[in-house]
């Protein structure tokens, strides 16, 4: 059965901009090798340290710092696949990470929401994740659903509930796993298995992937790394994301920040490949800047980090989460957020990352305005259209119509006009403005579109038995979380 969810639109990557030369990439890679060999990376996980030790890495058991020689790095990364599939509920929603397509993701994971009813700011809840999953299910450019906000009404198992809200409200791939207690990570794998139907199918077309953030500079989180090993064993793909902040957790130069972040990401990928050769991993670096006066987190930086991080990841021959993105530090919808979205959308085709875009959030990915996802999607769609291949024949020149109308008249009465006037379908936002005859603020129209989708779009639900199984898994996870809390 085919659901009413529209097919996913992916950007081609043939317009990828090579910001860095191969010589520059080689310099960066050499720097990463040097950091891994001489400085090392902290892995506060016994299991990880044992794996490294078993494979001949230099492990300092007191400081938990692991040093890796280039030979070991290369040997490990040789098994990392260049391309793999992130599965959707149906095959038409599968994302093939092979360097030829850029799929857009939502942004995540924030904590504050502008309430749809009261329009007041409040803490995010699971219902917000579920609603956004449903909205994104209807937006064709969104291929990858990253829960935009946290299910804060579910405490320690919030990530599991976010995953559940995603899997039960969209047919698209869900970024379901993140850093949790490793004892809870297994429940995420179980949820993926239920949706896939079997272990084999989950490995072939995993319906969820995970994101594991490092702790800059050059350290990993114990739970993050242990969870990553659980995911890797189950064939759940995962991105390792370094988030260096120039001036505080990274050198205050792009190059210093990038090389330090790269070493952090590569160290984790080496671990996963040593433990589970061939496990699907992807590379991600998100650079920010420390506000020089407040110490705050600044993500809007006028520098082509998106393109550079994609090139750095691809230089290791793995897919990349990164590239062009619409996310910004704007706190409200207005000129600043609009310009950031526009500039970000325009950089998606030149970025060339496999997963990118980060639609729907403001204030450094922390604040969700419902209508923002519609506005972001709209601008991305404009860019998407402008990058489509242009083809026409002589017949398309309409010379006969031009001759028939002649100089000084108009084409409004022509059948040709009636036939083709809809060739440029007006978007719900600009079309609404146009058809209504007045000029309503785009934001107002976007909110109307959001409400329309919210009321009318209901993706094909999972079968009842699977829904029950997922509920049982969540209940078991909640119990396990209680135990963990008591132990803590």
């Amino acid at each position: 059965m085919t659901s009413n969810t529209p097919d996913i639109l992916a950007f081609p990557t043939k317009n990828k901009r090579e910001v860095l030369s191969q010589a520059q990439l080689d310099v960066l890679k050499a720097g990463t090798y040097q950091i891994l060999k001489d400085v090392g990376v902290k892995f506060p996980s016994k299991r990880a340290l044992n794996i490294f030790s078993d494979h001949g890495a230099e492990v300092d058991w007191d400081t938990q710092i692991v040093k890796l020689k280039p030979g070991l790095v290369d040997k490990a990364l040789k098994t990392a696949p260049r391309s793999f599939i992130l599965g959707g509920r149906e095959e038409r929603f599968d994302l093939l990470l092979d360097g030829n397509h850029s799929y857009l993701s939502t942004d995540g994971c924030g904590t504050r929401v502008i309430d749809l009813e009261t329009r007041q700011e409040r803490d995010s809840r699971k219902e917000d994740v579920a609603r956004m999953a449903r909205i994104c299910d209807a937006l064709p450019l969104i291929g990858f659903f990253w829960p935009l906000v946290s299910a804060q009404d579910h405490g320690m198992t919030a990530p599991l509930h976010e995953c559940h809200a995603g899997l039960t409200n969209t047919l698209k791939h869900v970024r379901g796993g993140t850093t949790v207690f490793p004892e809870l990570a297994k429940f995420l794998v179980e949820m993926a298995t239920v949706v896939s139907g079997s272990d084999d199918e989950r490995r072939k077309r995993p319906p969820i992937c995970a994101n594991i953030c490092g702790i800059a500079p050059l350290a990993h989180d114990e739970h993050g790394i242990d969870s990553a090993l659980v995911y890797a064993e189950a064939g759940i793909p995962m991105s390792f994301m370094a988030m260096p902040t120039m001036g505080s957790t990274a050198p205050a130069t792009p190059w210093g920040a990038l090389v330090s972040a790269d070493a952090e990401v590569i160290s984790a990928m080496v671990l996963i490949q040593l433990a589970y050769p061939g496990a699907p991993v992807f590379h991600s670096i998100e650079v920010s800047l420390m506000h020089p006066r407040t110490g705050g987190y600044v993500t809007s930086i006028d520098y082509p980090f998106g393109s550079m991080t994609v090139q750095i990841g691809h230089n290791w021959n793995v897919p990349v989460l990164g590239g062009g993105g619409t996310s910004s530090d704007a706190r409200e919808i207005g000129w600043y957020s609009g310009s950031a979205t526009g500039m970000g959308a325009a950089s998606i085709p030149t970025g060339g990352g496999e997963i990118c875009g980060y639609l729907g959030m403001l204030d450094g990915s922390m604040l969700l305005y419902p209508e923002q996802i519609i506005l972001d999607h709209e601008l991305c769609y404009e860019v998407y259209k402008s990058y489509q291949a242009i083809e026409f024949t002589e017949a398309d020149l309409a010379l006969d119509v031009i001759k028939s109308v002649g100089p000084g008249s108009h084409f409004l009465r022509e059948k040709h006009t009636r036939k083709h006037i809809r060739d440029f379908p007006l978007s719900p936002i600009t079309g609404e403005i146009y058809l209504s005859g007045d000029r309503r603020p785009s934001r107002e129209v976007a909110l109307q579109e959001f409400n329309k989708i919210n009321e009318t779009h209901h993706p094909e639900p999972l079968p009842e038995d699977k829904l029950m199984e997922l509920d049982n898994i969540l209940a078991a996870a909640d119990k396990e979380a209680e135990k963990l809390q008591t132990r803590k």
Binding site: H410, L412, R413, E414, T417, R418, I421, R422, G431, G437
Partner: protein, 216 residues
């Protein structure tokens, strides 16, 4: 049988087929149908449907124009056949034109189409029309409203001249003056003494209705 003709006339307008509309009108007369009934039960519901489809966003301007063309083609056959005291029920008589020195037509044509679709009788005198030509047409057709379009900053001054000419001719209190065009504003319309300004064809209809309701 008559119902079938009304339906066909309505469909010709809704589908935007002027040739069909003309042919059906001729057939209706040959079948001895009442031309006024054909208009009121076939063409008027047809153009109303077109307006409705336009307002809901399903139809675009080309469908609106060609629908009005279809109605006009049938009216040209049916109207001369009206007998005795039969008269078309119109909201008002409108003279439309583009001012002297200005060859732009489309905006004014769209306004005419929209007014026609809303029950006005419109006489379009064309582009590049002198003040004298406007005055002559107003007198000749006993217009309720005159609409003058200007697309250039240099030709919009002609709209002011038209207002002055109507004052001189003693027509200012007999005919309402609407102005429009890209450089024209509501403020300018008020400054020159016009009665109404419309930004586009849709709002022109609202203004025209308001002017018809206004005391002369």
């Amino acid at each position: 049988m008559s119902e079938e003709f009304y339906k066909k006339l309505m469909a010709a307008v809704v589908d935007g087929e002027p040739e069909d509309a003309e042919a059906i009108a001729k057939e209706a007369l040959e079948a001895n149908l009442d031309p006024l009934e054909c208009i009121n039960k076939g063409l008027v519901p047809g153009i109303q449907k077109v307006g409705e489809l336009f307002s809901t966003g399903e139809y675009y301007l080309p469908e609106l124009i060609i629908g009005a063309d279809a109605m006009k083609a049938a009216l040209e056959i049916l109207e001369p056949a009206l007998v005795g005291g039969q008269k078309l029920d119109v909201v008002g008589m409108v003279i439309l034109g583009t001012v002297e020195g200005d060859l732009h037509e489309i905006g004014k044509t769209l306004v005419g189409t929209m007014l026609t679709a809303n029950g006005f009788k419109v006489v379009d005198i064309g582009a590049n029309q002198s003040v004298e030509a406007f005055v002559k047409a107003i007198k000749e057709h006993g217009a309720d409203i005159v609409g003058a379009s200007a697309l250039l900053t240099t030709t919009m001054l002609q709209q002011k001249k038209l207002v002055e000419a109507l004052e001189s001719a003693g027509l200012k209190n007999k005919v309402k003056i609407m102005v429009g065009g890209a450089p024209v504003t509501d403020r300018y319309a008020q400054e020159i003494g016009a009665d109404g300004y419309a930004e586009d064809a849709i709002s022109a209809v609202d203004i025209a209705f308001r002017l018809m309701d206004a005391p002369v």
